[in-house]
């Protein structure tokens, strides 16, 4: 089985370490982007299976990245999970309108993050024919 290509947009290096710790290396192929702009660059050249977008990021927010991917690039299939510590429902709802596959509330437990993401991937996979 091919590894899951996950692109994680996260500006905090410590949180990046938590992702690294929490996502099993034999399951995930990880790439990280420190800001929204970088996220789009990596997205353009790499085609990840799933993107985790921190909503609050410098240069370009996760919301703008999501909007860019969903609307400007018209990609509605790449799975996107929003990460937020704002816990503000309306942020998530705004994102939902653009099409997201789930969200992660920060801070998260590193040993849960893998199963959360896999859950979202499974949920989002189209039914097998």
């Amino acid at each position: 089985m091919a590894k899951i290509k996950i692109l994680i947009a996260e500006d905090d290096k410590d949180t990046v370490e938590l992702y690294r710790k929490g996502l099993a290396e034999d399951l995930f192929e990880m790439r990280f982007a420190l800001n929204g702009k970088e996220t789009l660059d990596v997205y353009g050249e790499w085609q990840p299976d799933i993107i985790v977008l921190d909503i609050v990021m410098p240069v370009m927010t996760g919301y703008s990245v999501l909007k860019e991917i969903r609307e400007k690039m018209n990609d509605r299939t790449t799975k996107i999970v929003m990460a937020t510590s704002l816990k503000k429902k309306h942020d998530i709802i705004d994102c939902s309108k653009l099409g997201i596959h789930g969200y992660i509330i920060k801070p998260f437990q590193y040993n849960e993050i893998g199963s959360i993401i896999i859950d979202y991937l499974k949920k989002a996979s189209p039914p097998q024919e």
Binding site: D11, D12, K13, D14, T15, E17, L18, K21, D54, V56, P58, R76, T77, A83, S85, K87, S96, K97, G99, I105, K106, P107, F108, Q109, Y110, N111, P126
Partner: protein
């Protein structure tokens, strides 16, 4: 060349021309020529002869000499003249000459005759002269017989005629002699002439023949000579040509050799045994050998055997096929691809005599082919690897190429897709549909994007169609890029559904608000109407005419109240009075009323299962459900039928939703034999305001109310119905293993009395008055207050005991619940009854079998007031004795906050055997207060509480702990919702763990045990902050803490500079990561920092930075 025999005619000029003449004209011409030759000679000779005979005259007749001489001279002269004329006119015709001869003969004859006559006439000797003329003329002239005869006759006549005319023939003898001689002479001459002439003719004829043959011979000679000359010329020409040809052949040979050698390909001629006979320079260069080395070698010796294996060897192939063969060979030694072609050399009998081999270097071609193949492969791989389906079409709608995704999409291997019409493949139709933009592109050549659902493929497809043009801009067809957007569409569909549901919820919510707002006032008004009319009825006798009026007022009020209740139930704002009940009892109590409701036409069958388990329910609401259903059933059977009400104990419904828990249920089913429902109607029956009844007959609220009620009871509804088959509604209520509480039932018609003190509170004066009017006459001591504040004052001021608080829930200022709390604090053991038209958050809606929470639903009636007051007082008295107070310091201290008394009692029971002190409180605010004043080992916190909910309480407690730098006390959150979101929210708020209601004893005790074991009660004020962190993070944590210390420095600097943005960002980051590393406090501080920074609250920022710094100094991490 002379051709006349006669020497005289040898010069004759006509001779040469005779060949062109025929024989007669040749003879004629020669005769004429002879004639003209002789005539002048005869004239000249005659003249001479005349003169010569003058001598004879002199002798014989000297007397006539002179005369005769004269005559002679004149005639001679005349003849000379004629001679000249003849000579001169030689070219004239023969007749001219003959006439001259006639003239000469005539002249000469006459002259002689004259002499004859002079000399004696008939006896004269001169007659001989006449004879001489005759001989002269006839004998000598080469003329015809006729001409000669005429001349002879003429001469004779000229002699004889004058003699006869004179008539004097004297000497007859002489005369006869003379005539005879003359005639004989003339005749002989004539004969001679004739013979001579004929001989001449013959001679001429022969001469002509001779001439003719000679000419022929001559002609022959000329012709042969010409031919000979021609032959000689030709021979010469041929010799020259052959020389040229030989030269050219030599040149060609040289050229051929040059060309042969100049050819880049190796050319070889092989003999019968395939030895090399001849080859060109290219071969010598290729094998780097001299001709001598190559020639004579066997052909196969030039190659390695693996290069010329049997299958590949064109020579072997040619031997079999006897015709041109070629093969591509790879010559490994030279790293070269060649094309070897072999042509057989065959003799006339088709026997193989050798072969011509040409070996051509095709390396470049091969390389080109390879790169073309590689490019094509690359293109195809790329084409196939693309996720979107791509098909290439020609201008006739036919698919000419499709990538893998397209084949997968169209579920066909390529050969099935290829050449199919695109509309067949994509739409499954046999002509281009008008709605298909891609087909329009096919027709118009303009690119398009179309989104279509293809029922044929059962997919939503987004098709981008682009025209294909060649370099001249001619339309070749199209390319379709097709994206399967089915998932997206489904997601959108789901989102739309969610939106619809949300809208529905909002709709219900606003209806609920409206209903609530109306109901509150409405129920107060109705209380007065119903209550006072009932009171009035008690005061008048049944016979009183006013009694009937009062009854009508009362009943109308009750109908209005029912409607209000319906509205509240529908909007789920009604106050539920949950009790353990038995469904059979409820139904049995209703039978009478049901009979009235459904009428005589409909038969009612009860199939009640006994014994039946109990459920927790609001009896009024159950009745409401049954009423609504029965009314619908009745209306579905206008001409009568059966209604069956069944009860049973059962498992969960077969058509269970995912959120239906396992367990036992009590089933209530209502079946009618009515008209049934279509699936469309069935789908909508629970929608509010959906009705199939006529205008004014139904509100469309009945079933949606039933649905709402069942939901509030954690139950489920299943509907079975077919048009014409009747309808069955099944209600599932969770079965509870509890006994129906025995309540003192008072007969409904009797107002029970009492003597206790009751405090009545309501901001509506009519209600106060109604309650007072009802209870005072029954013996109760009544205190009244118009607001919570007033009630407090009254309560404080009243010295005696107050047994019961009867209060409205919704009031300005202190509300009913708060009032109850406060009064319970001051007067423990006080009983409380709430009066409510509807409930809002001031009173927990989720009241589960709370026996201490007594509710009177507005509108109030005197009967209900009296009954409820009595019941409450009686129960309160029996319970008061069981309030335990324990103050054992060694025991574990537990604080439990829950607004639901049932839960409080339950937990109390659970921990009865546990060595602990349980402190109970009703809401978060109280819990926080208690926590701050007392010392607790663990806190159990319900999440949904009035005044202050569990989440806020938790946060407040954690904040207080940090502010006072005390160790964190475990808080166990108790939630009613089992969602992960909810539990995450609890953890975020600072709860240690989370338990979902209903809570089992085991779960509660083990949780308490687990979290309290590590607590050392004596260390409440210690400096070290113990944090337990997952072992997996051991290597990361030190770095994390170091980073936070760096953050502290940065934060301090930012705070000095009033750089709130930096503080906000750092705070936000900490908030996001702290909990993940196990440092919940960091998350908390981060959140505070973020908020403070956003508020530009400098003081708070500083405080938090210090807090963070201290935390970092004191934190002690243990890994587990």
């Amino acid at each position: 060349m002379p051709h006349f025999v006669s020497p005289l005619t040898s010069k004759f000029p006509a001779a040469n021309t005779c060949s062109r003449m025929d024989k007669s004209s040749y003879i004629e011409d020669n005769l004429a020529a002879l004639f003209k030759f002789w005539s002048p000679i005869l004239f000249l000779g005659g003249a001479i002869l005349f003169m010569l005979f003058a001598g004879l005259d002199y002798v014989t007749t000297p007397e006539n000499f002179r005369t005769f001489l004269a005559w002679r001279i004149s005639i001679a002269g005349g003849l000379l003249v004629v001679y000249f004329i003849t000579v001169r006119n030689k070219h004239r015709g023969i007749r001219f000459h003959k006439n001259l001869i006639y003239l000469g003969i005539l002249g000469a004859s006459i002259t002689i005759e004259s002499m004859v006559l002079r000399t004696g006439g008939h006896a004269s000797p001169y007659y001989m002269g006449m004879g001489l003329i005759g001989i002269w003329i006839i004998a000598f002239f080469p003329t015809s017989f006729l001409f000669s005869l005429i001349n002879a006759v003429t001469v004779y006549c000229v002699y004889l005629a004058p003699i006869l005319i004179s008539g004097r023939i004297t000497d007859t003898r002489t005369f006869i002699i003379a005539n005879t001689f003359l005639v004989a002479l003339l005749s002989s001459s004539l004969l001679l002439r004739t013979i001579n002439f004929n001989r001449l003719i013959n001679e001429l004829s022969l001469k002509f023949d001779l001439e003719e043959h000679r000419n022929l011979l001559e002609q022959l000679v000329v012709d042969r000579t010409e031919r000979m000359t021609e032959t000689v010329d030709n021979l010469q020409k041929e010799i020259v040509e052959r020389e040229h040809a030989e030269q050219a052949l030599e040149n060609a040979s040289t050229e051929w050799r040059v060309i042969f050698d100049a050819a880049k390909d190796i050319i070889m001629m092989l003999d019968q045994d395939f030895h090399i006979m001849r080859t060109n320079k290219a071969a010598a260069v290729f094998w780097n050998s001299s001709f001598a080395e190559i020639i004579g070698k066997p052909f196969s010796g030039l190659f390695r055997c693996d290069e010329m294996n049997y299958n590949m060897d064109p020579l072997s192939l040619m031997m079999q096929s006897r015709k041109h063969e070629e093969r591509e060979l790879y010559l490994a030694d030279h790293d070269l691809w060649v094309l070897a072609s072999v042509d057989p050399l065959l003799d006339n009998e088709r026997k193989l005599t050798g072969a011509v081999v040409i070996i051509k270097d095709i390396n470049d071609i091969k390389r080109m082919q390879d790169s073309i193949r590689k490019a094509r492969d690359e293109w195809e791989e790329t084409f196939n690897v693309i996720n979107d389906a791509i098909t290439i079409h020609d201008d006739k709608f036919s698919i000419i190429q499709a990538n893998k995704a397209a084949k997968d999409l169209l579920r066909a291997p390529f050969h099935e897709v290829e050449m199919r019409k695109c509309y067949e493949a994509y739409h499954g139709v046999d002509k281009p549909p008008a709605s298909c933009g891609a087909c329009r592109t096919q027709q118009t050549g303009e690119s398009s994007v179309t989104e279509m659902f293809e029922p044929h493929l059962n997919r939503y497809l987004e098709t981008k169609a682009l025209p294909r043009m060649d370099r001249q801009g001619r339309f070749l067809g199209t390319v379709h890029i097709v994206r399967d957007i089915t998932d997206r569409k489904k997601a959108e569909e789901e989102q739309r559904k969610l939106q619809d549901e949300l809208l529905q919820v909002q709709k219900m919510d606003s209806i609920g608000r409206l209903a609530g707002a109306i109901a509150h006032d409405f129920n107060n008004i109705l209380s007065a109407i119903i209550g006072f009319s009932k009171l009035a009825l008690l005061k008048v006798s049944d016979n009183d005419p006013v009694a009937e009026d009062l009854r009508i007022i009362s009943e109308s009020g009750e109908r209005a109240a029912a409607l209000t209740r319906q509205l509240l139930a529908f909007s789920r704002k009604q106050v539920l009075e949950m009790k353990v009940v038995n469904l059979n009892t409820v139904i049995e109590n209703m039978v009478k009323m049901i009979g009235r409701l459904i009428g005589a036409q409909v038969a009612l069958d009860l199939e009640l299962h006994t014994p039946l388990g109990n459920i927790v329910a609001d009896v009024g609401q159950l009745e409401q459900i049954l009423m609504n259903l029965l009314v619908n059933a009745r209306d579905a059977m206008p001409s009568g039928g059966h209604i069956t009400i069944q009860t049973a104990e059962t498992g969960p419904p077969k058509e269970r939703d995912k959120d239906i828990a396992d367990g036992q249920f009590v089933l209530l089913s209502v079946t009618d034999t009515g008209t049934g429902m279509s699936p469309e109607v069935k789908e909508r029956i629970f929608e509010p305001f959906f009705t199939t009844k006529g205008r004014g007959k139904g509100t469309g609220l009945g079933l949606s109310t039933a649905y709402g009620i069942v939901q509030q009871h954690n139950g489920h509804i299943v509907v079975r119905s077919e048009p014409g088959q009747g309808t069955t509604f099944e209600f599932y209520f969770p079965l509870v293993d509890r006994e129906v509480e025995k309540t003192v039932e008072y007969k409904q018609s009797v107002l029970v009395r009492g003597t206790e003190t009751v405090l009545v509170v309501d901001d509506e004066p009519t209600i106060l008055k109604l309650v007072a009017s009802t209870l005072r006459p029954l013996g109760y001591n009544l205190l009244e207050a118009s607001s919570g504040e007033n009630a407090m004052r009254t309560g404080d001021a009243y010295p005696g005991s107050i047994d019961l608080l009867l209060t409205d829930v919704v009031m300005p200022g202190i509300n009913g619940a708060q009032l109850a709390d406060k009064l319970r604090e001051r007067r423990p053991g006080i009983n409380v009854i709430f009066m409510s038209g509807y409930t809002d958050d001031a009173l927990g809606r989720q009241s589960d079998d709370d026996s201490s929470l007594v509710l009177i639903q507005k509108p109030l009636t005197p009967l209900v007031i009296a009954k409820k007051v009595r019941e409450a007082l009686d129960r309160g008295n029996s319970r008061r004795t069981t309030m335990p107070v324990d103050s054992d310091h060694d025991r574990m201290r537990i604080l439990y906050a829950d607004d639901d008394e049932a839960n409080r009692l339950l937990v109390k029971k659970y921990v009865d055997s546990f060595p602990c002190l349980l402190d109970l409180c009703e809401n978060g605010r109280v819990a926080v207060d208690k926590y701050q004043t007392g010392e607790y080992d663990i806190v159990l916190m319900d999440m949904q509480m009035p005044v202050m909910d569990g989440l806020s309480a938790c946060r407040t407690i954690r904040e207080w702990e940090r502010d006072h730098q005390t160790a964190t006390t475990p808080i166990i959150a108790l939630t009613g919702f089992a969602s992960s979101e909810e539990s995450r929210a609890c953890l975020d708020a600072g709860c240690t763990t989370c338990l979902t209601k209903p809570i089992s004893r085991e779960a509660l005790l083990s949780s308490i045990g687990q979290y309290t074991q590590q607590i050392k009660r004596s260390s409440r004020k210690r400096q070290d902050i113990d944090v337990r962190v997952d072992k997996g993070l051991q290597e990361l944590v030190p770095g994390y803490l170091t980073n936070r210390r760096t953050d502290v420095n940065n934060l301090r600097k930012a705070a000095e500079d009033n750089d709130y943005e930096t503080i906000r960002i750092l705070g936000h980051t900490m908030k996001g990561s702290g909990g993940g590393y196990g440092f919940d406090a960091v998350t908390e501080i981060g959140g505070q920092l973020e908020k403070a920074a956003m508020d530009h609250d400098h003081e708070e920022c500083r405080k938090m930075i210090t807090k963070l710094s201290e935390y970092l100094d004191f934190v002690r991490v243990t890994y587990e």
